[in-house]
Assembly symmetry: C2
Homo-oligomer: 108 residues x 2
DNA sequence: TATTATTATCGTAATATTGCAATATTATAA
DNA sequence: TTATAATATTGCAATATTACGATAATAATA
């Protein structure tokens, strides 16, 4: 039947997977990278930066935004937003917590 | 027409996306978590731990293995493997490098 | 060698993701 | 209010992912 069987995994596992999904496409990585490196808000010049169409960028941006990674105003003709650095760091910390959750052992 | 337009993104962006893809499914997170927390090698008791069928686990394990995250022997009736901690840490470091690659600025 | 236990592969179905053209929406400017 | 510029949504097509039953392959054991 396909498509993820979510119920059998715990919350932390789903959280990590959700975070990872945001980063799981090079276009979103590129968008995040671009946003993170702007000194000012982005007010409508992303489409020219990444080599994808406006609807496609819009979709990727929504994924990023729904993940809470954007901060700013999202109404009307001109968006004005930047990286939500607190959330960005939270992502990093949650991932690091996952990576640190290991019992160090020697085998193989 | 769909399906990623890889060529327009740079290598680092693709690398991050590839790493993230491995973590982008809760089953793989669960498998990695389980493997990481074993004191000894895994010799064939994963299927009972995660609530998925043997072929499905086998597929997820291959994704993890192809990412270089496993260490051990992979032949015959009994696999015997554990987490490749060096590679695991490399993943963590590459992700952290991405997260740190930002210009801190105040806006919005 | 034949049996058994374990993992891999194949085939197939369902769902998800990606991408863009066309169109709609929305806030600003004229 | 009417144009405009910018972003969002819709609809569709192509590809990717996920899942599992059936089967194959493989190594150890009898």
């Amino acid at each position: 039947m396909g498509a993820s069987k979510l119920s059998i995994h715990n919350e932390q596992q789903q959280l990590i997977a959700e975070i990872a999904k945001v980063l799981a496409h090079p276009a979103r990585v590129a968008i995040l990278e671009y946003i993170a490196n702007q000194k000012n808000c982005i007010c409508g010049d992303i489409v020219d930066e990444i080599g994808l169409s406006q609807p496609t960028i819009s979709q990727h941006l929504q994924v990023i935004r729904k993940a809470g990674l954007l901060k700013g105003t999202f109404e009307g003709k001109r968006l004005c937003y930047c990286l939500n650095r607190e959330r960005f760091e939270e992502f990093q910390e949650l991932l690091n917590a996952f990576f640190h959750q290991t019992v160090v052992a020697d085998c193989c």
